[in-house]
Amino acid sequence: MATATATSKFSGVDFYNIDSLLSEDERAVRDTVRSWVDEHLMPVIGECYIEGKFPKQLIPGMAELGLFGANLPEEYGCAGLNNVAYGLIMQELERGDSGIRSFASVQGGLVMYPIFAFGSDAQKTYWLPRLASGQEIGCFGLTEPDYGSNPGGMITTARETKDGWVLNGTKMWITNGSQATVAVIWAKTGELSDSKSIRGFIVPTSTKGYTAKDQKGKLSLRASDTSEIHLEDVHLPKDAILPKSGGLKSPLNCLTQARYGISWGAIGAAMACYDEAASYAKSRVMFGKPIGQTQIQQVRLADMLTEITKAQLLTLQLGRLKDAKTMTPSQVSLAKRNNVNMATECAREARRLLGANGILVEYHSMRHMANLESVYTYEGTHDMHALILGQEITGLSAF
């Protein structure tokens, strides 16, 4: 689109003609988001990253394209796409920056999805169109200072009163926490030892007792807001609870949605790094020949292309399983773990191939490299996904 006005165009990585496995509308969705990233995100992302600020001005454009909750039904103002098209959106956004993809993942997978899956009809009709249109911005509060990989241990509580609920606790590392207008907060309604009593609550962030403070000093995911949330006697009406949520499996179910998107997103980041490295290798001349003409750099590039291609096929099949409603959470764990690790390796190798230029923000590999350390850690660390797979294989839990 708009070839003549685009600053530069990303043409993707497709060594196995994987495009031929996509439908026409899946490709159209991918191309639209790719052009949007070229035209709107790429020109500003470097500066946002350096300044540590999320490009808020892009939210209306993202909403207008329909990027939020794009796989949810049309009746709620969403695009009603299948899960492969949804994954391709995440891939293209993260080709730009993991922070922007995180924003979309949180809004769609972690805020709209739980309202869609566990909410009442009234909650769905009120919140989903507002979140799809970007009128409301959401965040998802599960992690706590002392409960990261083990969210079931959380100590945030929701106590029922005669006319509603009172929430108390602290949530940590919450993407969009400070700019959100609404938070989905997970809290225990029963004993602290009872993870089955975990329920989700819709908390407008203007409610008295809700405060959020941005985490300072991040060296990763700098173009995304990450905050600490304090909940001090936050009074909510009775209908703030997500009626169909119940137990730790509810937030984990949301994480499965978001992790699915991350599996695709990581491929995007890896493609960006490979693309940058391949073009740099062909143009950078050292010792009288392009560095791409040396065996070491060729191995680097060959490894990247191989890993990207494997991840693409793996993830496309995961998407087809999700569309067929047979995808399992441990299949998502395998893809999240593999793809994010693959992308961190690509980013690091690309950065190295670029020499000194590779440490500059004008190039993208180091930004991706640093971002991917967050992606590696959130939504279940790389290690935790190995343990999930280990449990699946042996039937024995190591955590």
Binding site: M1, A2, T3, A4, T5, K9, S11, E24, D25, A28, V29, T32, S35, W36, E64, L65, G66, L67, A70, E74, A79, G80, L81, A85, I89
Partner: protein, 249 residues
């Protein structure tokens, strides 16, 4: 306001072109095709004109094989109401293509027919004006700014060193230059909606005409550049090379 846009499917401008074995056509293997970029401005204008008028219809026509349906659906995803594929092989002779379009558009009741100012694959700039002639309506080419009032058109054309303002009455054919607007991206909802919009397929026979492509060659490879020095010290060397080697001074 009833507006038609004629749209061509062309190779993406960033695609690496390989000449086919016949030496007169491109090898389409692995080539990514896109809507002609200038036609995108025409599509945007048509959609915006209808939006501003608050009523009317926009129709996209494309001449080509079945693969052009995908290109048409991109236009529908942007917001065009319906599409017509004139199914058949094109011709290198723009006049034959214009005859095909004119035959289809005649009697369509269009207030405006929009083309891109050129198609980036063959750079002919002919089909728009020829279609206008065949339809017996005025034509303004390379429109960079457009105002419509009371059935009259005022269009600005960016000519060498200035701006020319032309007027004509409707119906008319306009060929669109870049800069007229910023084409919107098809939204995701638009892409889904496009699947449900009407897309009619009408087989056509385009004459061969009198103009043939006899050969196609790629431009010569650009030679690597050379740095002759830095700062003012480099000027004498540069001037001498421009004289002796490039022979431009």
């Amino acid at each position: 306001m009833k507006v038609a846009v004629c749209l061509k499917r062309v190779p993406d401008t960033t695609t690496k072109i390989v000449i086919g074995s016949d030496g007169k056509s491109i090898d389409e293997n692995g080539v990514k095709f896109v809507p002609n970029p200038y036609d995108e401005y025409a599509l945007e204008e048509a959609i915006a004109l209808k939006e501003r008028a608050g009523a009317g219809e926009t129709v996209v026509y494309s001449l080509g094989g079945d693969s052009s349906q995908e290109t048409i659906r991109t236009a529908l995803a942007m917001g065009i109401d319906r599409g017509v594929l004139l199914q058949g092989a094109g011709s290198a002779d723009g006049f034959e293509v214009a005859k095909t379009f004119a035959a289809e558009l005649k009697g369509g009741g269009f207030d405006l027919v929009l083309f891109g100012k050129l198609a980036v694959d063959d750079y002919n700039m002919q089909v728009g004006p020829m279609t206008a002639e065949l339809l017996g309506v005025p034509c303004i080419t390379t429109v960079a700014h457009l105002t419509l009032a009371n059935g009259a058109i005022e269009a600005e054309r960016e000519i060498e060193g200035g701006i020319e303002v032309c007027t004509c009455s409707m119906p008319a054919v306009l060929t669109i230059d870049k800069g007229l607007n910023t084409p919107r991206l098809p939204s995701l909802k638009g892409i889904m909606a496009a699947k449900k919009k009407p897309l009619e397929v009408r087989p056509v026979h385009v004459g061969v005409g009198t103009l043939m492509v006899s050969s196609l060659t790629l431009p010569p490879e650009r030679l690597a550049g050379r740095i002759v020095g830095e700062g003012p010290d480099a000027v004498p060397a540069l001037v001498s090379l421009l004289r002796t080697e490039a022979k431009v001074l």
